[in-house]
Amino acid sequence: MWNYFIIFAVVAVVLWIIGSVASYRQSKPWLIYGATSLGIAVFLFYIILLWMQLSRPPLRTMGETRLWYSLFLPLAGMATYMRRKYRWVIGFGTLLAIVFICINILKPDIQSKSLMPALQSPWFAPHVIVYMFAYALFGVAALSAIYIQWKKQGDMHGCDDLVYLGFSFLTIGMLFGAFWAKEAWGNYWAWDPKETWAAITWFTYLIYIHYRQVGSSSPRTATILLVVAFVFLQVCWWGINYLPAAQNMSMHTYNLG
């Protein structure tokens, strides 16, 4: 199934690019939403096929989580476009999705059907999918904020929307993780390195939210906060595997094999 990935990915990416160009040129809405949605459907279809072939949710390896991330990015872009009509936002979602699709093509993880007992839980799929959706929203938020600062046009309200939505998903993902950890490991929170970094990420977005409540907040500082938070998020997601302090310390190591 993994061998067919490139076909589905190319079709989806072409459709997303059509959607992005159409929205940038402010073309007909049916073309923007139609092409983007169709691309999402094609990509989702591939994930479902992979799920069926593996007989388990494709959420275990890093490569598998990247699939969901690439799926949600254009979705986050389209949702923001619907609300704020930023003509570049679907393009950003697509751009970031292409980056992660390329990583998957260059570095596919070994796909094995096995799922260790600790991951066999009803919490597995919701915990990871909700997290991936939050990550996608934050990715689009960071790129949008940088673009707004660079072009000196538009306001940060679109970023606020994305962060609020992303933060509610991030919180839900974290709390689902707590319920699951209690059932699987006996503790709802154990300051495992992955959990510590999840806390750092969660707190940093919390700083952004509170900072934006202050009347005199500067968009520049807000943008820096979003970029820093996004870097922390990447550390939490995969960078932690390279952090010396976290070597052999984490219980969240299912994704390495």
Binding site: I110, S112, K113, S114, L115, M116, P117, A118, Q120, S121, H157, D160, D161, Y164, L165, F167, S168, F169, T171, I172, L175, A178, F179, K182, E183, A184, W185, G186, N187, Y188, W189, W191, P193, T196, W197, A199, I200, F203, T204, L206, I207, H210, Y211, Q213, V214, G215, F232, V235, L243, P244, A245, A246, M249
Partner: protein, 407 residues
């Protein structure tokens, strides 16, 4: 400086001050020993904390500092301080209580360090005061705000204070021998009001996987991106070798050693291993080999198929799919429960949650030992109440009315 209204610089000084006081406490008093706040001390501390918080709330008209503590800028600085400290924690290896030396500064055991815990207490106080301010007078439209803030407040406070009351014990059991003693993390033995008798330990495994390894180094091939073939796939190719599974025995023993040839037959008792009869054909040279391979068990050695001087076909050790223990649990109230405990499905009895933790790894599916972890956390319902409030609050955030600036 210190002109009213306070700005970020004053708040940052307050945040730095709190951390500094924590550092001073660490140097003078030493690392925090959480066991000192075990029940009833934690309940007293909880009452004290709430009393101080309510007093501060009531005096907010008179004392400017108390009023500031529920301000957005203060929240930004308080969260940023805690984030920065947690970032340090994320960058440094944490060794837990073991390295919480009374005289160390606590970089490697930050959960026991005053300079980490004190800013958290300060954040919790600010959080509580903010929540109080928005709760009185009560407006229904502030409900998501209250759920978010009170939820986190309850979680932070109860998880911290309750941590001293958590009991976490390990208990190894053997079939037919009821066990009521368990060991804590410090190696101390505890006698419990419940006894567990292991009836049967069962393990299901995933079908065996075949792979090619380098004869000298033992690394899986192709190096860096190893390929494996599931035995249930029956036919496949790794490198230049087409591999066909002629026969697969899930429970087998080696017999009929004839020169170098080993044969496997079905054998259903303790120590049986997985074995498969394989035909390997080199697609380039058409060279054909047939033989048995096995991953071995604690009783029988493994068996590989040498393809040539450089590489061999091997069967990797089967991964466990599911392991569980059928148990009988006796309580000192003379009640008997029967049940099955498996990973992700703990058993609850008399306030204890019993988890499937481990088994005899050497013996794998033939293990006669099953280790359970027993956890008692009396504060869990309070923490869960906070978590549910946060979940409801997160949904409230999701549905938030747009663009309404709140201060």
């Amino acid at each position: 400086m210190w002109n009213k209204p306070f700005g970020y610089s004053e708040y940052i000084l307050i945040g730095g001050g709190v951390t500094f006081i924590g550092a001073m406490l660490q140097i003078t008093v030493g690392a925090i020993d959480w066991s000192l706040i075990a029940f009833p001390a934690n309940v007293i501390l909880l009452c004290l904390f709430v009393a101080i918080m309510v007093t501060m709330h009531l005096m907010r008209g008179k004392v400017y500092l108390f009023r500031c503590m529920s301000e957005s800028r203060m929240a930004v600085v308080a969260i940023a301080t805690v984030t920065l400290l947690t970032f340090i924690m994320g960058m440094l290896r944490q060794d837990g209580a073991a390295s919480a030396d009374k005289f160390s500064f606590g970089f490697h055991s930050m959960l026991h360090a005053w300079w980490y815990v004190l800013p958290f207490i300060w954040l919790t106080l600010c959080l509580g005061l903010t929540a109080l301010r928005r709760t009185i007078p009560f407006h229904f439209r502030d409900l998501p705000f209250m759920l978010n803030h009170w939820g986190l407040f309850v979680v932070l406070l109860c998880a911290t204070l309750g941590s001293a009351d958590i009991q976490q014990l390990n208990m190894p059991t053997f079939p037919g021998k009821p066990e009521w003693r368990a060991v804590d993390t410090k190696g101390k033995i505890h006698e419990l009001p419940i006894a567990i008798e292991l009836q049967k330990f069962t393990m299901e495994q995933y079908p065996a996987r075949l792979m090619i390894i380098d004869n000298n180094t033992g690394t899986a091939q192709p190096e860096g991106r190893p390929q494996t073939l599931g035995i249930d796939e029956k036919l496949g190719q790794i490198l230049d070798w087409r591999i066909k599974v002629d026969k697969y025995l899930e429970y087998a023993a080696p017999v009929g050693i004839n020169g170098n040839k080993i044969k496997y037959v079905g054998w259903g008792t303790d120590g049986a291993t997985d074995a498969a009869l394989i035909t390997a054909t080199n697609v380039k040279t058409s060279q054909k080999l047939q033989g048995w391979i096995s991953c071995g068990s604690y009783l029988f050695p493994f068996n590989v198929m040498k393809l040539n001087k450089a590489i061999s076909l091997v069967m990797a050790e089967c991964e466990p799919k599911k392991f569980s223990s059928d148990v009988k649990i006796y309580t000192d109230e003379e009640k008997v429960y029967a049940g099955r405990i498996e990973v992700n499905k703990p058993f609850s009895v008399m306030g204890w949650k019993i988890y499937q933790l481990d088994y005899d790894k050497e013996k794998g599916r033939w293990s006669e030992m099953s280790t359970f972890q027993l956890v008692k956390d009396p504060w869990l319902p309070a923490v869960y109440a906070g978590i549910f409030m946060m979940l409801a609050g997160a949904i409230g955030l999701f549905l938030r009315k747009n663009d309404k600036k709140q201060d």
